[in-house]
């Protein structure tokens, strides 16, 4: 049990937060997605989503690029290599923890 608890504390807290986990899960399944799509999929407010994206950007997990598609302003978000690695590691840790607890 102690070992299980230790494994939980080893989880990346930045990703473990539910809203951020949702954001990185969405971004891990695509090449990139814009702010509007992330807002609709996560159900977060603009301010909330901005704050979470900033934290992920500061950690080097997400790259944010502001551009235009025609006349439409686009804020495109993309998972970096470090972010992709962190998500994969998180999933692996979570899976091994689940396996241990169900044994």
């Amino acid at each position: 049990m102690t070992d299980n608890l230790r494994r939980v504390t080893e989880l990346d807290r930045l990703i473990h937060e539910p809203a951020r986990l949702l954001i990185v899960t969405i971004l891990s399944s695509v090449e990139s997605a814009d702010f509007l799509f992330l807002q609709r999929e996560t159900g977060l407010t603009k301010g909330n989503l901005s704050a979470h994206l900033s934290k992920l950007e500061d950690a080097g997990y997400v790259k944010i690029h502001k551009t235009f598609k025609g006349k439409l302003p686009l804020t495109v978000c993309k998972l970096t290599a470090a972010g992709t690695k962190a998500v994969a590691q998180y999933r692996q840790q979570l899976q091994s923890f689940m396996e241990m607890t169900t044994q």
């Binding site: 986990l21 949702l22 899960t25 969405i26 891990s28 399944s29 695509v30 090449e31 990139s32 997605a33 814009d34 702010f35 509007l36 799509f37 992330l38 807002q39 609709r40 999929e41 603009k46 901005s50 502001k66 598609k69 025609g70 006349k71 439409l72 302003p73 686009l74 804020t75 495109v76 999933r91 979570l94 899976q95 689940m98």
Partner: protein, 212 residues
């Protein structure tokens, strides 16, 4: 938790089909193919028109693939992205590549098996039957199973029924294929049109650019 993450990933994949634009475009392509076979059937084998059309089929197929891709991207940029957001999907996804190769291999095995089988069934038009089976496999295995969109299973079933039904008739190969692609194209377009109508009703255009 893991299953919820997988649900999110599936939902993101389904987003591509949420507006029906891809179906409307591919439905148009099917109708174009139907017209091609119809014209070929009308002029008959050996005619100059038929020879020109046979060469033209390659151009129609290649041009169609690029044309459909361009049309889908243009329509999505105008209709979908301003309403519900922009997503760029990975094209060189290893899982997608493996799935595509597997489906292609299965489709080839089924096509060969069908060809061998239909030789022993008199009065059956093998061409339209095999086409129906192959298109059904594409709809069910490539689109339905990977995206989890239920309507592709229905379209796959429809293709199978259409191919089987037409194979029992007395029409020539060309007219059978013309009817098959034409009717399939109409069904795919109706499906796409219905989805697009619902999408537009549920997602009105935002009053101003609302992207950050």
């Amino acid at each position: 938790m893991e299953s919820r993450m997988l649900d999110v990933e599936r939902r993101v994949k389904r987003y591509w089909y949420s507006d029906g634009i891809a179906e409307l475009s591919s439905g148009g392509m099917f109708i174009l193919l139907g017209l091609y076979f119809g014209i070929q059937g009308y002029f008959g084998e050996g005619s100059i028109v038929s020879v020109v059309l046979q060469v033209g089929l390659v151009l129609i197929m290649i041009g169609g693939v690029f044309g459909v891709r361009w049309l889908v991207n243009t329509l999505k940029a105008r209709i979908t992205y301003p309403r519900t957001g922009y997503v760029e999907y990975r094209v060189d996804d290893r899982e997608a590549k493996t799935r595509r190769y597997t489906v292609a291999a299965v489709a080839m095995v089924i096509a060969i098996a069908s060809m061998v089988l239909v030789r022993y069934i008199r009065g059956l038009d093998s061409m339209v039957l095999i086409t129906g089976v192959l298109v059904a496999i594409v709809f069910i295995a490539l689109r339905g199973k990977s995206s989890g969109v239920t309507r592709f299973y229905y379209l796959g079933g429809y293709s199978l029924l259409l191919g089987t039904g037409l194979s029992l008739g007395d029409l020539s190969d060309e007219y059978n294929l013309a009817l098959f692609y034409g009717l399939l194209g109409v069904a795919v377009m109706v499906s796409g049109g219905t989805v697009l109508r619902r999408y537009l009703r549920e997602n009105p255009m935002p009053a101003e650019a609302d992207n950050d």
